[in-house]
Amino acid sequence: MLRLFWNRLVWAIPVLLVIVVLNFVLVRLAPGDPITSIIGEYPTPEGYAEQLRAQMGLDRPIHEQLLIYLGHVFQGDLGYSFANRQPVLSLILGKALNTLALMVPGLIFASLLGILIGRVSLSTSARFLDSTLTGLSLFGYSVPIFWLGQVLIILFAVELQWLPAQGMFALQTDLPPFLDYLAHWAMPGFAVTIFYAAIVARVARASLKEAVTGDYIVTALAKGTSQRRLFWRHVLPNGLVPIVSVIGYNFGLALTGAILVESVFAWPGLGALFMASIIARDYPTLQGIFLLAGAAVVVSNFVTDVVYEIIDPRMRNGSRGA
Protein backbone atom coordinates (compact mmCIF):
# COMPACT_ATOMS: atom_id res chain seq x y z
CA MET A 1 0.00 0.00 0.00
CA LEU A 2 2.70 2.42 1.05
CA ARG A 3 4.78 1.54 -2.00
CA LEU A 4 1.90 2.26 -4.35
CA PHE A 5 1.34 5.53 -2.55
CA TRP A 6 4.95 6.42 -3.15
CA ASN A 7 4.90 5.29 -6.80
CA ARG A 8 1.92 7.45 -7.53
CA LEU A 9 3.43 10.43 -5.81
CA VAL A 10 6.58 10.09 -7.87
CA TRP A 11 4.42 9.84 -10.97
CA ALA A 12 2.54 13.04 -10.16
CA ILE A 13 5.72 15.11 -10.18
CA PRO A 14 6.56 14.91 -13.92
CA VAL A 15 2.97 15.77 -14.88
CA LEU A 16 2.97 18.89 -12.72
CA LEU A 17 6.48 19.73 -13.88
CA VAL A 18 5.42 19.55 -17.53
CA ILE A 19 2.51 21.89 -16.80
CA VAL A 20 4.73 24.40 -15.01
CA VAL A 21 7.29 24.29 -17.82
CA LEU A 22 4.53 24.68 -20.42
CA ASN A 23 3.26 27.69 -18.50
CA PHE A 24 6.76 29.12 -18.58
CA VAL A 25 7.35 28.40 -22.26
CA LEU A 26 3.93 29.53 -23.52
CA VAL A 27 4.15 32.99 -22.02
CA ARG A 28 7.59 33.39 -23.54
CA LEU A 29 6.36 32.24 -26.95
CA ALA A 30 3.60 34.82 -26.90
CA PRO A 31 4.35 37.76 -29.14
CA GLY A 32 5.79 40.79 -27.40
CA ASP A 33 7.69 41.40 -24.20
CA PRO A 34 6.82 38.89 -21.42
CA ILE A 35 6.60 41.73 -18.93
CA THR A 36 3.92 43.37 -21.05
CA SER A 37 2.20 39.99 -21.35
CA ILE A 38 2.31 39.46 -17.61
CA ILE A 39 1.10 42.88 -16.60
CA GLY A 40 -1.38 43.12 -19.41
CA GLU A 41 -2.83 46.48 -20.32
CA TYR A 42 -3.29 47.60 -16.74
CA PRO A 43 -1.85 50.79 -15.34
CA THR A 44 1.05 49.96 -13.02
CA PRO A 45 3.20 52.15 -10.77
CA GLU A 46 6.22 53.90 -12.23
CA GLY A 47 9.22 51.61 -12.62
CA TYR A 48 7.16 48.52 -11.79
CA ALA A 49 8.03 46.86 -15.11
CA GLU A 50 11.76 47.23 -14.37
CA GLN A 51 11.29 46.00 -10.84
CA LEU A 52 9.32 42.98 -12.10
CA ARG A 53 11.96 42.29 -14.73
CA ALA A 54 14.68 42.13 -12.07
CA GLN A 55 12.45 40.25 -9.64
CA MET A 56 11.63 37.60 -12.24
CA GLY A 57 15.25 37.54 -13.34
CA LEU A 58 14.37 38.21 -16.95
CA ASP A 59 17.83 39.69 -17.43
CA ARG A 60 19.35 36.29 -16.69
CA PRO A 61 19.88 33.20 -18.94
CA ILE A 62 16.76 31.22 -19.82
CA HIS A 63 17.52 28.09 -17.73
CA GLU A 64 18.07 30.26 -14.66
CA GLN A 65 14.76 31.96 -15.38
CA LEU A 66 13.00 28.61 -15.45
CA LEU A 67 14.50 27.65 -12.08
CA ILE A 68 13.42 30.97 -10.59
CA TYR A 69 9.90 30.47 -11.93
CA LEU A 70 9.80 26.94 -10.51
CA GLY A 71 10.95 28.29 -7.16
CA HIS A 72 8.13 30.83 -7.12
CA VAL A 73 5.51 28.25 -8.04
CA PHE A 74 6.60 25.77 -5.38
CA GLN A 75 6.43 28.51 -2.77
CA GLY A 76 2.81 29.04 -3.79
CA ASP A 77 3.59 32.35 -5.46
CA LEU A 78 1.63 32.27 -8.70
CA GLY A 79 2.02 35.97 -9.40
CA TYR A 80 -0.36 38.89 -9.15
CA SER A 81 -3.46 39.51 -11.20
CA PHE A 82 -3.76 43.15 -12.13
CA ALA A 83 -7.13 42.61 -13.72
CA ASN A 84 -8.51 41.44 -10.37
CA ARG A 85 -6.16 43.32 -8.04
CA GLN A 86 -5.20 40.34 -5.92
CA PRO A 87 -2.67 37.51 -5.79
CA VAL A 88 -3.53 34.74 -8.26
CA LEU A 89 -3.48 31.96 -5.66
CA SER A 90 -6.11 33.43 -3.34
CA LEU A 91 -8.14 34.56 -6.36
CA ILE A 92 -8.40 31.11 -7.94
CA LEU A 93 -8.86 29.25 -4.66
CA GLY A 94 -11.80 31.55 -3.84
CA LYS A 95 -13.44 30.91 -7.21
CA ALA A 96 -12.69 27.18 -6.98
CA LEU A 97 -15.23 26.88 -4.14
CA ASN A 98 -18.03 28.14 -6.40
CA THR A 99 -16.95 25.74 -9.14
CA LEU A 100 -17.03 22.86 -6.66
CA ALA A 101 -20.54 23.93 -5.57
CA LEU A 102 -21.61 23.54 -9.21
CA MET A 103 -19.66 20.47 -10.28
CA VAL A 104 -19.53 18.15 -7.25
CA PRO A 105 -23.30 17.61 -6.85
CA GLY A 106 -23.58 17.30 -10.64
CA LEU A 107 -20.83 14.69 -10.85
CA ILE A 108 -22.26 12.72 -7.93
CA PHE A 109 -25.76 12.65 -9.47
CA ALA A 110 -24.22 11.79 -12.84
CA SER A 111 -22.28 8.86 -11.36
CA LEU A 112 -25.36 7.45 -9.62
CA LEU A 113 -27.54 7.99 -12.69
CA GLY A 114 -24.93 6.44 -14.96
CA ILE A 115 -24.69 3.29 -12.82
CA LEU A 116 -28.49 3.15 -12.63
CA ILE A 117 -28.72 3.27 -16.42
CA GLY A 118 -26.16 0.49 -16.64
CA ARG A 119 -28.18 -1.53 -14.11
CA VAL A 120 -31.44 -1.06 -16.03
CA SER A 121 -29.87 -2.00 -19.34
CA LEU A 122 -28.89 -5.37 -17.82
CA SER A 123 -32.41 -6.70 -17.58
CA THR A 124 -33.33 -7.97 -21.03
CA SER A 125 -37.04 -7.46 -20.42
CA ALA A 126 -36.54 -3.71 -20.70
CA ARG A 127 -35.27 -3.66 -24.27
CA PHE A 128 -37.17 -0.51 -25.23
CA LEU A 129 -35.90 1.27 -22.13
CA ASP A 130 -32.43 -0.01 -22.90
CA SER A 131 -32.30 1.46 -26.39
CA THR A 132 -33.81 4.73 -25.14
CA LEU A 133 -31.12 5.00 -22.48
CA THR A 134 -28.40 4.10 -24.98
CA GLY A 135 -29.69 6.86 -27.22
CA LEU A 136 -29.67 9.23 -24.27
CA SER A 137 -26.07 8.41 -23.48
CA LEU A 138 -25.08 8.91 -27.13
CA PHE A 139 -26.88 12.26 -26.99
CA GLY A 140 -24.92 13.29 -23.90
CA TYR A 141 -21.72 12.27 -25.64
CA SER A 142 -22.31 14.42 -28.69
CA VAL A 143 -24.08 17.52 -27.42
CA PRO A 144 -21.97 20.66 -26.99
CA ILE A 145 -22.52 21.29 -23.28
CA PHE A 146 -22.62 25.08 -23.75
CA TRP A 147 -25.37 24.73 -26.34
CA LEU A 148 -27.34 22.45 -24.03
CA GLY A 149 -27.07 25.28 -21.49
CA GLN A 150 -28.39 27.83 -23.98
CA VAL A 151 -31.33 25.64 -24.90
CA LEU A 152 -32.17 25.18 -21.21
CA ILE A 153 -32.07 28.95 -20.67
CA ILE A 154 -34.32 29.61 -23.67
CA LEU A 155 -36.78 26.97 -22.48
CA PHE A 156 -36.92 27.44 -18.71
CA ALA A 157 -35.81 31.03 -18.17
CA VAL A 158 -36.95 32.92 -21.27
CA GLU A 159 -40.10 31.06 -22.33
CA LEU A 160 -41.45 29.47 -19.15
CA GLN A 161 -39.71 31.86 -16.72
CA TRP A 162 -39.47 29.15 -14.07
CA LEU A 163 -35.80 29.44 -13.25
CA PRO A 164 -33.21 32.21 -13.00
CA ALA A 165 -31.00 32.31 -16.10
CA GLN A 166 -27.73 33.45 -14.62
CA GLY A 167 -25.57 33.62 -11.53
CA MET A 168 -25.33 31.64 -8.32
CA PHE A 169 -27.44 33.80 -5.98
CA ALA A 170 -30.07 36.44 -6.67
CA LEU A 171 -29.28 40.01 -5.63
CA GLN A 172 -32.66 40.38 -3.95
CA THR A 173 -34.80 37.43 -3.01
CA ASP A 174 -37.25 36.19 -0.39
CA LEU A 175 -35.94 32.66 -0.71
CA PRO A 176 -33.64 31.24 1.96
CA PRO A 177 -30.04 31.06 0.62
CA PHE A 178 -30.07 27.29 0.12
CA LEU A 179 -33.26 27.31 -1.97
CA ASP A 180 -31.94 30.28 -3.93
CA TYR A 181 -28.76 28.32 -4.64
CA LEU A 182 -30.83 25.30 -5.68
CA ALA A 183 -32.91 27.38 -8.09
CA HIS A 184 -29.75 28.77 -9.66
CA TRP A 185 -28.08 25.36 -9.68
CA ALA A 186 -30.97 23.59 -11.37
CA MET A 187 -30.14 24.36 -15.01
CA PRO A 188 -26.33 24.31 -15.02
CA GLY A 189 -26.46 21.36 -12.64
CA PHE A 190 -28.81 19.52 -14.97
CA ALA A 191 -26.52 20.18 -17.94
CA VAL A 192 -23.52 18.87 -16.01
CA THR A 193 -25.45 15.82 -14.77
CA ILE A 194 -26.73 14.82 -18.22
CA PHE A 195 -23.34 15.32 -19.82
CA TYR A 196 -21.38 13.21 -17.35
CA ALA A 197 -24.13 10.65 -16.77
CA ALA A 198 -23.89 9.84 -20.48
CA ILE A 199 -20.18 9.12 -20.18
CA VAL A 200 -20.56 7.03 -17.00
CA ALA A 201 -23.58 5.15 -18.38
CA ARG A 202 -21.70 4.07 -21.49
CA VAL A 203 -18.88 2.55 -19.47
CA ALA A 204 -21.20 1.14 -16.79
CA ARG A 205 -23.34 -0.60 -19.39
CA ALA A 206 -20.40 -2.31 -21.09
CA SER A 207 -18.67 -3.23 -17.87
CA LEU A 208 -21.76 -4.58 -16.07
CA LYS A 209 -22.74 -6.61 -19.15
CA GLU A 210 -19.26 -8.10 -19.10
CA ALA A 211 -19.52 -8.85 -15.37
CA VAL A 212 -22.80 -10.72 -15.85
CA THR A 213 -21.16 -13.25 -18.17
CA GLY A 214 -18.78 -14.55 -15.45
CA ASP A 215 -19.02 -18.16 -14.26
CA TYR A 216 -19.44 -16.93 -10.69
CA ILE A 217 -22.83 -15.54 -11.72
CA VAL A 218 -23.97 -19.01 -12.76
CA THR A 219 -22.65 -20.37 -9.45
CA ALA A 220 -24.43 -17.67 -7.49
CA LEU A 221 -27.67 -18.31 -9.39
CA ALA A 222 -27.33 -22.06 -8.77
CA LYS A 223 -27.02 -21.37 -5.06
CA GLY A 224 -30.35 -19.56 -5.23
CA THR A 225 -29.08 -16.00 -4.70
CA SER A 226 -31.78 -13.35 -4.97
CA GLN A 227 -31.64 -10.91 -7.92
CA ARG A 228 -30.95 -7.98 -5.65
CA ARG A 229 -28.12 -9.73 -3.82
CA LEU A 230 -26.77 -10.98 -7.13
CA PHE A 231 -26.40 -7.41 -8.41
CA TRP A 232 -25.01 -5.83 -5.28
CA ARG A 233 -22.70 -8.65 -4.20
CA HIS A 234 -21.56 -10.18 -7.49
CA VAL A 235 -22.21 -8.08 -10.59
CA LEU A 236 -21.49 -4.58 -9.32
CA PRO A 237 -18.21 -5.31 -7.46
CA ASN A 238 -16.84 -7.14 -10.50
CA GLY A 239 -17.84 -4.43 -12.95
CA LEU A 240 -16.89 -1.51 -10.75
CA VAL A 241 -13.24 -0.89 -11.70
CA PRO A 242 -13.86 0.63 -15.17
CA ILE A 243 -16.75 2.64 -13.74
CA VAL A 244 -14.63 4.08 -10.94
CA SER A 245 -11.91 4.78 -13.46
CA VAL A 246 -14.18 6.81 -15.73
CA ILE A 247 -15.70 8.68 -12.78
CA GLY A 248 -12.25 9.53 -11.43
CA TYR A 249 -11.06 10.65 -14.84
CA ASN A 250 -14.03 12.98 -15.19
CA PHE A 251 -13.65 14.42 -11.71
CA GLY A 252 -10.12 15.34 -12.75
CA LEU A 253 -11.23 16.99 -15.96
CA ALA A 254 -14.33 18.60 -14.42
CA LEU A 255 -12.77 22.02 -14.68
CA THR A 256 -13.03 21.81 -18.46
CA GLY A 257 -16.75 21.15 -18.26
CA ALA A 258 -17.03 23.91 -15.70
CA ILE A 259 -15.49 26.44 -18.06
CA LEU A 260 -18.03 25.67 -20.75
CA VAL A 261 -21.06 25.59 -18.46
CA GLU A 262 -20.17 28.48 -16.19
CA SER A 263 -19.75 31.00 -18.97
CA VAL A 264 -23.21 30.22 -20.34
CA PHE A 265 -24.88 30.59 -16.94
CA ALA A 266 -22.57 33.32 -15.61
CA TRP A 267 -21.79 31.06 -12.64
CA PRO A 268 -19.10 32.95 -10.70
CA GLY A 269 -16.49 30.17 -10.64
CA LEU A 270 -13.14 29.31 -12.19
CA GLY A 271 -14.59 28.82 -15.66
CA ALA A 272 -16.04 32.31 -15.78
CA LEU A 273 -12.76 33.65 -14.39
CA PHE A 274 -10.85 31.74 -17.08
CA MET A 275 -12.92 33.27 -19.87
CA ALA A 276 -12.72 36.76 -18.38
CA SER A 277 -8.96 36.34 -18.08
CA ILE A 278 -8.64 35.30 -21.72
CA ILE A 279 -10.50 38.41 -22.81
CA ALA A 280 -8.43 40.58 -20.49
CA ARG A 281 -5.18 38.80 -21.49
CA ASP A 282 -4.59 38.26 -17.76
CA TYR A 283 -1.77 35.74 -18.17
CA PRO A 284 -0.86 35.06 -14.51
CA THR A 285 -4.45 34.06 -13.78
CA LEU A 286 -4.62 31.84 -16.89
CA GLN A 287 -1.39 30.14 -15.86
CA GLY A 288 -2.69 29.65 -12.35
CA ILE A 289 -5.93 28.06 -13.57
CA PHE A 290 -4.02 25.76 -15.92
CA LEU A 291 -1.79 24.67 -13.04
CA LEU A 292 -4.81 24.05 -10.83
CA ALA A 293 -6.52 22.09 -13.61
CA GLY A 294 -3.45 19.89 -13.96
CA ALA A 295 -3.24 19.43 -10.20
CA ALA A 296 -6.90 18.39 -10.17
CA VAL A 297 -6.16 15.65 -12.73
CA VAL A 298 -3.17 14.42 -10.74
CA VAL A 299 -5.07 14.38 -7.44
CA SER A 300 -8.11 12.62 -8.86
CA ASN A 301 -5.93 10.00 -10.56
CA PHE A 302 -4.29 9.42 -7.21
CA VAL A 303 -7.59 9.08 -5.37
CA THR A 304 -8.92 6.76 -8.12
CA ASP A 305 -5.92 4.47 -7.63
CA VAL A 306 -6.55 4.32 -3.89
CA VAL A 307 -10.22 3.53 -4.51
CA TYR A 308 -9.14 0.68 -6.85
CA GLU A 309 -7.28 -0.84 -3.94
CA ILE A 310 -10.35 -0.67 -1.75
CA ILE A 311 -12.82 -2.13 -4.25
CA ASP A 312 -10.57 -4.68 -5.91
CA PRO A 313 -8.65 -6.88 -3.46
CA ARG A 314 -6.58 -8.30 -6.34
CA MET A 315 -4.80 -4.96 -6.69
CA ARG A 316 -3.74 -4.82 -3.06
CA ASN A 317 -0.65 -6.98 -3.56
CA GLY A 318 0.83 -4.88 -6.31
CA SER A 319 -0.59 -5.75 -9.72
CA ARG A 320 0.28 -9.46 -9.51
CA GLY A 321 -3.14 -11.04 -9.64
CA ALA A 322 -4.86 -8.45 -11.78
Binding site: L26, W147, V151, I153, V158, L255, T256, I259, L260, A293
Partner: protein
Protein backbone atom coordinates in the same frame (compact mmCIF):
# COMPACT_ATOMS: atom_id res chain seq x y z
CA UNK B 1 -22.97 -18.09 -27.13
CA UNK B 2 -21.45 -14.71 -26.46
CA UNK B 3 -20.01 -14.64 -29.97
CA UNK B 4 -23.41 -15.28 -31.49
CA UNK B 5 -24.88 -12.46 -29.45
CA UNK B 6 -22.10 -10.17 -30.57
CA UNK B 7 -22.55 -11.05 -34.23
CA UNK B 8 -26.20 -10.31 -33.89
CA UNK B 9 -25.29 -6.97 -32.32
CA UNK B 10 -23.09 -6.13 -35.28
CA UNK B 11 -25.65 -6.95 -37.90
CA UNK B 12 -28.20 -5.01 -35.90
CA UNK B 13 -25.86 -2.04 -35.73
CA UNK B 14 -24.83 -2.15 -39.38
CA UNK B 15 -28.46 -2.28 -40.35
CA UNK B 16 -29.61 0.22 -37.73
CA UNK B 17 -31.37 3.32 -39.02
CA UNK B 18 -29.16 5.49 -36.79
CA UNK B 19 -26.01 4.34 -38.57
CA UNK B 20 -27.54 4.94 -41.98
CA UNK B 21 -28.86 8.33 -40.92
CA UNK B 22 -25.41 9.29 -39.65
CA UNK B 23 -23.64 8.20 -42.82
CA UNK B 24 -26.20 10.03 -44.97
CA UNK B 25 -25.95 13.16 -42.85
CA UNK B 26 -22.16 13.27 -43.08
CA UNK B 27 -22.30 12.69 -46.82
CA UNK B 28 -24.84 15.49 -47.24
CA UNK B 29 -22.71 17.76 -45.10
CA UNK B 30 -19.59 17.07 -47.16
CA UNK B 31 -21.51 17.70 -50.38
CA UNK B 32 -22.96 20.91 -48.98
CA UNK B 33 -19.52 22.16 -47.95
CA UNK B 34 -17.76 21.21 -51.19
CA UNK B 35 -20.05 21.44 -54.21
CA UNK B 36 -22.93 23.29 -52.52
CA UNK B 37 -21.74 26.79 -53.53
CA UNK B 38 -21.42 25.67 -57.19
CA UNK B 39 -24.90 24.16 -57.27
CA UNK B 40 -26.88 26.85 -55.50
CA UNK B 41 -24.76 29.87 -56.31
CA UNK B 42 -22.04 31.16 -54.02
CA UNK B 43 -23.86 33.63 -51.80
CA UNK B 44 -21.60 35.74 -49.60
CA UNK B 45 -22.76 34.83 -46.09
CA UNK B 46 -21.66 38.25 -44.88
CA UNK B 47 -24.39 39.93 -46.95
CA UNK B 48 -26.21 42.30 -44.65
CA UNK B 49 -29.97 42.70 -45.01
CA UNK B 50 -32.37 45.23 -43.53
CA UNK B 51 -34.03 42.59 -41.34
CA UNK B 52 -32.04 42.68 -38.12
CA UNK B 53 -32.58 39.76 -35.74
CA UNK B 54 -35.60 38.64 -37.69
CA UNK B 55 -37.19 35.40 -36.48
CA UNK B 56 -37.35 32.44 -38.88
CA UNK B 57 -39.54 33.20 -41.91
CA UNK B 58 -39.95 32.06 -45.51
CA UNK B 59 -37.17 34.41 -46.64
CA UNK B 60 -34.81 33.50 -43.79
CA UNK B 61 -35.72 29.96 -42.63
CA UNK B 62 -33.27 30.15 -39.68
CA UNK B 63 -33.70 33.89 -39.02
CA UNK B 64 -31.07 36.62 -39.12
CA UNK B 65 -28.44 37.84 -36.67
CA UNK B 66 -27.73 41.24 -35.11
CA UNK B 67 -26.30 42.57 -38.39
CA UNK B 68 -29.10 41.16 -40.53
CA UNK B 69 -27.05 38.24 -41.88
CA UNK B 70 -28.83 35.04 -42.90
CA UNK B 71 -28.20 32.36 -40.23
CA UNK B 72 -28.83 29.57 -42.75
CA UNK B 73 -26.07 30.88 -45.03
CA UNK B 74 -23.80 31.12 -42.00
CA UNK B 75 -24.47 27.51 -41.08
CA UNK B 76 -23.88 26.30 -44.66
CA UNK B 77 -20.55 28.12 -44.84
CA UNK B 78 -19.64 27.20 -41.27
CA UNK B 79 -19.75 23.54 -42.31
CA UNK B 80 -16.62 24.12 -44.38
CA UNK B 81 -14.61 25.27 -41.37
CA UNK B 82 -15.95 22.59 -39.05
CA UNK B 83 -15.27 19.78 -41.50
CA UNK B 84 -11.90 21.17 -42.55
CA UNK B 85 -10.70 21.55 -38.98
CA UNK B 86 -12.29 18.27 -37.90
CA UNK B 87 -10.83 16.15 -40.69
CA UNK B 88 -7.41 17.80 -40.74
CA UNK B 89 -6.95 17.63 -36.97
CA UNK B 90 -8.15 14.02 -36.81
CA UNK B 91 -5.94 13.08 -39.76
CA UNK B 92 -2.88 14.70 -38.20
CA UNK B 93 -3.61 13.16 -34.80
CA UNK B 94 -4.10 9.71 -36.34
CA UNK B 95 -0.86 9.89 -38.34
CA UNK B 96 1.11 11.23 -35.37
CA UNK B 97 -0.42 8.84 -32.86
CA UNK B 98 -0.19 5.93 -35.30
CA UNK B 99 3.52 6.53 -35.95
CA UNK B 100 4.38 6.97 -32.29
CA UNK B 101 2.34 3.95 -31.23
CA UNK B 102 3.71 1.72 -34.00
CA UNK B 103 7.34 2.53 -33.22
CA UNK B 104 6.75 2.24 -29.50
CA UNK B 105 5.04 -1.13 -29.73
CA UNK B 106 7.40 -2.60 -32.32
CA UNK B 107 10.70 -1.50 -30.78
CA UNK B 108 9.59 -2.28 -27.22
CA UNK B 109 11.89 -2.21 -24.21
CA UNK B 110 13.03 1.02 -22.62
CA UNK B 111 12.03 3.19 -25.57
CA UNK B 112 8.50 1.80 -25.34
CA UNK B 113 8.34 2.52 -21.61
CA UNK B 114 9.61 6.05 -22.13
CA UNK B 115 7.19 6.82 -24.98
CA UNK B 116 4.26 5.44 -23.02
CA UNK B 117 5.16 7.61 -20.02
CA UNK B 118 5.21 10.69 -22.25
CA UNK B 119 1.86 9.62 -23.73
CA UNK B 120 0.40 9.31 -20.25
CA UNK B 121 1.59 12.81 -19.38
CA UNK B 122 -0.08 14.15 -22.51
CA UNK B 123 -3.25 12.30 -21.58
CA UNK B 124 -3.28 13.87 -18.12
CA UNK B 125 -3.36 17.36 -19.60
CA UNK B 126 -6.64 19.22 -19.23
CA UNK B 127 -7.14 19.41 -22.99
CA UNK B 128 -9.57 22.27 -23.37
CA UNK B 129 -7.81 24.51 -20.85
CA UNK B 130 -4.48 23.95 -22.59
CA UNK B 131 -5.95 24.42 -26.07
CA UNK B 132 -7.64 27.66 -25.01
CA UNK B 133 -4.44 28.86 -23.37
CA UNK B 134 -2.29 28.12 -26.43
CA UNK B 135 -4.70 29.72 -28.89
CA UNK B 136 -5.20 32.73 -26.61
CA UNK B 137 -1.45 33.25 -26.19
CA UNK B 138 -0.24 32.46 -29.69
CA UNK B 139 -3.13 33.94 -31.63
CA UNK B 140 -5.92 32.36 -33.69
CA UNK B 141 -5.90 30.88 -37.19
CA UNK B 142 -7.40 27.66 -38.53
CA UNK B 143 -4.08 25.89 -39.00
CA UNK B 144 -2.94 26.73 -35.51
CA UNK B 145 -6.22 25.42 -34.11
CA UNK B 146 -5.76 22.21 -36.12
CA UNK B 147 -2.22 21.84 -34.82
CA UNK B 148 -3.28 22.36 -31.22
CA UNK B 149 -6.16 19.88 -31.47
CA UNK B 150 -3.90 17.31 -33.16
CA UNK B 151 -1.18 17.73 -30.55
CA UNK B 152 -3.72 17.12 -27.80
CA UNK B 153 -5.58 14.20 -29.42
CA UNK B 154 -2.83 11.81 -30.53
CA UNK B 155 -2.25 9.89 -27.24
CA UNK B 156 -5.41 7.78 -27.56
CA UNK B 157 -4.46 6.71 -31.09
CA UNK B 158 -0.89 5.99 -30.02
CA UNK B 159 -2.04 3.67 -27.24
CA UNK B 160 -4.46 1.84 -29.50
CA UNK B 161 -1.85 1.45 -32.26
CA UNK B 162 0.74 0.22 -29.78
CA UNK B 163 -1.64 -2.41 -28.46
CA UNK B 164 -2.43 -3.60 -31.97
CA UNK B 165 1.25 -3.73 -32.97
CA UNK B 166 2.06 -5.73 -29.83
CA UNK B 167 -0.61 -8.22 -30.86
CA UNK B 168 0.30 -8.45 -34.55
CA UNK B 169 4.09 -8.56 -34.25
CA UNK B 170 3.92 -11.96 -32.55
CA UNK B 171 1.99 -13.55 -35.41
CA UNK B 172 3.56 -16.13 -37.69
CA UNK B 173 3.62 -14.14 -40.92
CA UNK B 174 5.88 -11.57 -39.26
CA UNK B 175 8.35 -14.31 -38.37
CA UNK B 176 8.05 -15.56 -41.95
CA UNK B 177 8.89 -12.11 -43.32
CA UNK B 178 11.89 -11.98 -41.00
CA UNK B 179 13.06 -15.38 -42.29
CA UNK B 180 12.88 -13.96 -45.81
CA UNK B 181 15.47 -11.43 -44.69
CA UNK B 182 13.33 -8.30 -44.79
CA UNK B 183 14.58 -5.41 -42.73
CA UNK B 184 12.74 -4.52 -39.51
CA UNK B 185 11.57 -1.18 -40.91
CA UNK B 186 10.07 -2.86 -43.98
CA UNK B 187 8.39 -5.50 -41.81
CA UNK B 188 6.87 -2.80 -39.60
CA UNK B 189 5.59 -0.71 -42.49
CA UNK B 190 4.58 -3.42 -44.94
CA UNK B 191 3.53 -6.32 -42.74
CA UNK B 192 2.58 -5.09 -39.28
CA UNK B 193 1.00 -1.65 -39.69
CA UNK B 194 -1.51 -2.56 -42.44
CA UNK B 195 -2.88 -5.27 -40.16
CA UNK B 196 -3.37 -2.77 -37.32
CA UNK B 197 -5.21 -0.08 -39.23
CA UNK B 198 -8.87 -1.12 -38.89
CA UNK B 199 -9.47 -0.10 -35.25
CA UNK B 200 -7.24 2.96 -35.72
CA UNK B 201 -9.45 4.19 -38.55
CA UNK B 202 -12.54 3.65 -36.41
CA UNK B 203 -10.94 5.70 -33.63
CA UNK B 204 -10.00 8.32 -36.24
CA UNK B 205 -13.70 8.79 -36.98
CA UNK B 206 -14.38 9.38 -33.29
CA UNK B 207 -11.45 11.83 -33.25
CA UNK B 208 -13.14 13.84 -36.01
CA UNK B 209 -16.15 14.23 -33.68
CA UNK B 210 -13.89 15.31 -30.82
CA UNK B 211 -12.03 17.80 -33.01
CA UNK B 212 -15.24 19.38 -34.32
CA UNK B 213 -16.52 19.75 -30.78
CA UNK B 214 -13.23 21.27 -29.60
CA UNK B 215 -13.16 23.71 -32.53
CA UNK B 216 -16.75 24.73 -31.80
CA UNK B 217 -15.89 25.32 -28.13
CA UNK B 218 -12.85 27.43 -29.00
CA UNK B 219 -14.92 29.45 -31.49
CA UNK B 220 -17.71 29.87 -28.96
CA UNK B 221 -15.23 31.61 -26.67
CA UNK B 222 -14.06 33.82 -29.50
CA UNK B 223 -10.63 32.21 -29.56
CA UNK B 224 -10.55 31.42 -33.26
CA UNK B 225 -10.06 33.86 -36.10
CA UNK B 226 -12.90 36.42 -36.07
CA UNK B 227 -12.87 36.52 -39.88
CA UNK B 228 -13.69 32.86 -40.35
CA UNK B 229 -17.29 31.81 -40.22
CA UNK B 230 -17.88 28.95 -37.84
CA UNK B 231 -20.75 27.36 -35.99
CA UNK B 232 -19.30 28.06 -32.57
CA UNK B 233 -19.03 31.74 -33.40
CA UNK B 234 -22.75 32.07 -34.17
CA UNK B 235 -23.43 30.61 -30.74
CA UNK B 236 -21.45 33.51 -29.26
CA UNK B 237 -24.04 35.87 -30.75
CA UNK B 238 -26.70 33.48 -29.52
CA UNK B 239 -25.33 33.81 -26.00
CA UNK B 240 -25.31 37.60 -26.21
CA UNK B 241 -28.88 37.84 -27.48
CA UNK B 242 -30.25 34.78 -25.70
CA UNK B 243 -33.26 36.70 -24.34
CA UNK B 244 -34.22 38.09 -27.75
CA UNK B 245 -33.22 35.62 -30.46
CA UNK B 246 -33.52 31.89 -29.71
CA UNK B 247 -32.83 31.00 -33.36
CA UNK B 248 -29.24 32.27 -33.05
CA UNK B 249 -28.60 29.48 -30.54
CA UNK B 250 -30.90 26.69 -31.62
CA UNK B 251 -29.91 26.12 -35.28
CA UNK B 252 -26.11 26.40 -35.23
CA UNK B 253 -25.99 24.30 -32.04
CA UNK B 254 -28.20 21.72 -33.69
CA UNK B 255 -25.76 21.62 -36.63
CA UNK B 256 -22.83 20.98 -34.29
CA UNK B 257 -24.76 18.36 -32.35
CA UNK B 258 -25.96 16.43 -35.40
CA UNK B 259 -22.50 16.44 -36.96
CA UNK B 260 -20.71 15.29 -33.81
CA UNK B 261 -23.47 12.75 -33.16
CA UNK B 262 -23.13 11.32 -36.69
CA UNK B 263 -19.37 10.95 -36.48
CA UNK B 264 -19.71 9.30 -33.06
CA UNK B 265 -22.31 6.82 -34.32
CA UNK B 266 -20.30 6.05 -37.43
CA UNK B 267 -17.08 5.61 -35.46
CA UNK B 268 -18.83 3.30 -33.00
CA UNK B 269 -20.35 1.21 -35.78
CA UNK B 270 -17.01 0.97 -37.56
CA UNK B 271 -15.26 -0.08 -34.36
CA UNK B 272 -17.76 -2.81 -33.70
CA UNK B 273 -17.75 -4.00 -37.29
CA UNK B 274 -13.95 -3.97 -37.60
CA UNK B 275 -13.14 -5.35 -34.15
CA UNK B 276 -10.70 -8.22 -34.84
CA UNK B 277 -11.74 -9.91 -31.60
CA UNK B 278 -15.26 -10.53 -32.87
Amino acid sequence: MAAVARNRAISRLAGSPTTWFSAAFILALILMATVGPYLFGDVDPNTISMSIMAPPSAEFPFGTDELGRDVLQYIVHGAQVSLYVGFSAAFAATILGGLIGAVSGYVGGRIDTLIMRVTEIFQSMPTFVLAALIVALLGPGNNRVILVIALLSWPQTARLMRGEVLRVKRLDFVTAARCLGQSETVILIKEVVPNCLAPVIALGTLTVAQAILLEASLSFFGLTNPDTISWGRILTSGQRYIFQAWWLSLFPGMAIFLTVFSFNVLGDSLRQALDPKS
